[in-house]
């Protein structure tokens, strides 16, 4: 038996809990059935669906998110990190073990749904519904585990909170499934020109998101256990999201535009998420530089922060968007002069990443998240607004050119800002090297 699963089962499945769970659920079902005696089957069914969501999607997600943070707080996490278990054993042991009691409750809820149907309640798509509920449950649990693993590596509380945001995208999918759970035939979903029954579409989506979330939890666990992996999954997830959202555009031209725009938006969004949720420290940057200097390219790529991969992936999407916006007669609302805005947006994200790196290279023991957010807010909103109010509109546009300049001008302004930030990063990097003496060449990949 997986040792981590067994440890969790020792903690979670006590006799008291095994008895209390069916008793509590039975009382809830009786309560709602008795309030609607004429249609007790329908009342039991809908109560079972609601209790499934409460037990799995709410309580189970909380338990999954606490699976690692509890251990960090109780100082038992080092024992686990020192174990000989591989990341997959540790991931599924925690995922299934920490949420074991909620899945026990979920099983009882499904039994109640079946009993309601045996009693005469009609529901054709029970299997699809349960599949969607289970998959969305796994998705939110795995995403919560991945988020808590990210959070455990953050030094600042702000970073902790941002790390825990990881489970929100998956939670949104869970909510999709939940939304479609109550109605047997919701309106059809149009995706890449094809029509899908909503509950089937969202259940299938929940299954796919569950796979992505489990992959994310596995990879975060691998990083925590110092198992080295190439960073392909994060940009692959960005491509998946781009393809998913791109499918909602209507018609072939709109689909192409929608795909390009969603690709850029997703890549930029995941870049900001990765920047604040992932760990980028002076140490990790020094290791990357050392590997680069020694020509250990695989090690260098393995150490790359998540945000670098999606920022790089945003480049082709930005150029594609610029080309579409420049050429397409479909988008008559977009003036030609705005065509290079996607490039300016990309440069804005690059500038903000540079600001983060600048502060990460500092001697502060605290994380750079808070100070970076402050400077982004100052440069993007506060100072431009103050300058505009003071009648210095030209100066304001040099800080935030969007809306008041065309795409070319905005790109040039953002390019200058990126150059300044890059210069500051290089200056701080050299200062840090001077402080510790120059780096000797690495002797081997280690």
């Amino acid at each position: 038996m997986n040792p981590e699963l067994r440890r969790n089962l020792w903690l979670e499945l006590t006799t008291h809990r095994l008895v209390a769970m069916p008793v509590v659920l039975f009382l809830v079902f009786v309560l709602f059935a008795s309030r609607n005696a004429s249609d007790w089957q329908g009342a039991v069914f809908s109560t079972a669906v609601a209790m499934f969501i409460v037990v799995v999607h709410l309580w189970g997600t909380y338990k999954a998110s606490e699976a690692v943070t509890d251990e960090v707080r109780d100082r038992t996490w080092d024992w686990q990190r020192l174990s000989a278990l591989d990341p997959w054993q540790m991931t599924w042991g925690k995922l299934a073990g920490a949420t074991a009691l909620s899945w026990y409750g979920a099983f009882l809820c499904v039994v109640a749904m079946v009993i309601a149907m045996l009693g005469g309640f009609e529901r054709r798509d029970l299997a699809i519904l349960v599949c969607g509920l289970v998959a969305s449950g796994v998705a939110v649990h795995a995403a919560a585990l991945a988020g808590s693993l990210q959070a455990s590596r953050k030094s600042s509380k702000l970073g902790h909170r941002i790390g825990l945001l990881f489970f929100f995208p998956a939670a949104a999918v869970g909510l999709f499934a939940i939304a479609s759970a109550g109605q047997e035939r919701a309106e059809a979903i149009e995706w890449y020109g094809r029509s899908f029954e909503a509950i089937r579409f969202y259940s299938a989506l929940a299954v796919v998101f569950a796979l992505w979330a489990v992959l994310a939890a596995y990879r975060e666990m691998a990083r925590e256990l110092k198992v080295r992996l190439l960073p392909w999954a994060y940009p692959a997830f960005a491509l998946f999201l781009a393809a998913l959202f791109g499918g909602y555009g209507q018609g072939p031209v709109a689909s192409r535009t929608s795909l390009a725009l969603s690709g850029l938006i997703v890549c930029i969004g995941l870049t900001y998420y990765g920047l604040f949720a992932d760990v980028t420290t002076a140490m990790s940057l020094r290791r990357i530089a050392t590997h680069g200097k020694a020509g250990h390219w695989r090690r260098l790529i393995e150490e790359l922060p998540l945000w670098v991969t999606t920022l790089a992936l945003a480049v082709p999407f930005a150029l594609w968007c610029a080309q579409i916006l420049g050429d397409s007669p479909v988008l008559s609302l977009v003036p030609k002069a705005a065509a290079l805005y996607p490039v300016a947006v990309l440069l804005l994200a690059a500038r903000d990443c540079g600001i983060y790196v600048f502060f990460a290279l500092g001697a502060r023991a605290r994380g750079p998240e808070g100070i970076t957010l402050l400077y982004i807010a100052l440069l993007s909103w506060i100072v431009p607004a103050v300058l505009a109010i003071a009648g210095m509109g030209a100066a304001a546009r040099l800080l935030m050119p969007f809306g008041s300049m065309n795409g070319w001008q905005a790109s040039v302004v953002m390019g200058v800002q990126v150059s300044i930030v890059a210069g500051l990063v290089a200056w701080r990097w050299r200062a840090r090297r001077r402080a510790f003496g120059s780096m000797p060449p690495a002797s081997s990949p280690g």
Partner: protein, 319 residues
């Protein structure tokens, strides 16, 4: 007693650390740290606060990744294959926790299982570990109900239940009463006798002196000294000590006149000196003292005190 399997020849070091560098924001915690650990030794890892002792142990355990350097344990590259290396090493952090809701038996079973002990061997490994740590009568007690000393013993048990070949302990005796500390010293000697190599970081030098065979001194993130504490183990020059009936300046004169004697230090009625040669070289020196009329009460080899040795090392300017 545990038996640690010896995969390679005893001559090869059990662990090697080469050129390790580690930095915290604004601080270089380890700077070009290199050393090897001989099999079956108990190394006292000592140094002032902030010297980098805990960081070094965490890097050796594969919990932290240094900027530069290589670490090998039992022939396994810790930075390349940490999971594989963990089968060969045990580590106890200075700030450890135990699973309070689990029983001692469950804690030890879990620790053994996650470190690769087979299901069939687990019950005997748990019983053996509990016996060696005097926890047999507590196996069914919840860990949360144990006293501090017993929790410490349980944590040490978790670190060594899989019979690691290298055991890294960061302040293992912190918070223990004198009796428990003595028990720990006895355990370490038993583990050493079974072939285990142990590194103990501690500020309690008198306690380290009870069981350490080697000393590794860190200062400012650098290794300033690594040597054996066992007299005569490395060199033919041994530290000797003469106890006189009363302070006598002639003792120093006589000793200084011997060709195989150096570094004579007198402290009241105690005179210590370095002697080149084996036991047969002792007799002429003793005879010279007696013939000079020096009242010798005791004459023998002095095992260097770890405390004195440490203070001498850290007080010296960095080489």
């Amino acid at each position: 007693m545990m038996n640690v399997s010896q995969g390679e020849g005893n001559a090869a070091p059990i662990a090697s650390v080469a050129g390790v560098r580690f930095e915290y924001p604004g601080v270089r915690a380890l700077d070009d740290v290199s050393f090897t650990l001989a099999r079956g030794t108990v190394t006292a890892l000592v140094g002032p606060n902030g010297a980098g002792k805990s960081t070094l142990l965490r890097c050796m355990a594969g919990l932290e990744t240094p900027i530069l350097g290589e670490i090998e344990v039992a022939g396994v590259d810790v930075l390349d294959s940490p999971r594989k290396a963990h089968r060969h090493l045990g580590y106890l952090s200075d700030f450890f926790g135990v699973y309070d809701a689990l029983t001692v038996r469950q804690c030890l079973t879990h620790a053994g299982a996650i470190n690769g002990t087979s299901e069939a061997e687990l019950p005997s490994a748990v019983a053996r570990t509990a016996r060696s740590l005097a926890l047999s009568d507590r196996l069914d007690s919840a860990a949360g109900t144990l006293s501090r000393g017993l929790r410490q013993r349980l944590a040490i048990g978790q670190a060594l239940i899989h019979s690691p070949r290298l055991l890294l302990l960061d302040e293992p005796a912190a918070g223990l009463d004198p009796e428990a500390r003595h028990g720990l010293a006895v355990l370490f000697r038993e583990l050493q006798a079974s072939g285990m190599t142990i590194v103990v970081s501690s500020h309690i030098l008198a306690e380290l002196d009870e069981y350490s065979t080697d000393m590794l001194v860190l200062k400012g993130g650098r290794v300033v000294e690594q040597r054996s504490l066992e007299a005569g183990a490395e060199a033919r020059e041994r530290r000797m000590q003469v106890t006189l009936a009363a302070p006598d300046p002639r003792a120093v004169e006589v000793l200084a006149a011997q060709s195989n004697v150096s570094s004579v230090v007198a402290d009241g009625a105690l005179v210590s000196f370095a002697l080149r040669g084996d036991e047969t070289a002792q007799a002429p020196v003793l005879r010279a003292l007696v013939e000079a009329g020096v009242a010798v009460v005791a004459f023998g080899e002095a095992r260097e005190n770890l405390h004195d040795s440490y203070l001498r090392t850290v007080a010296e300017p960095r080489k």
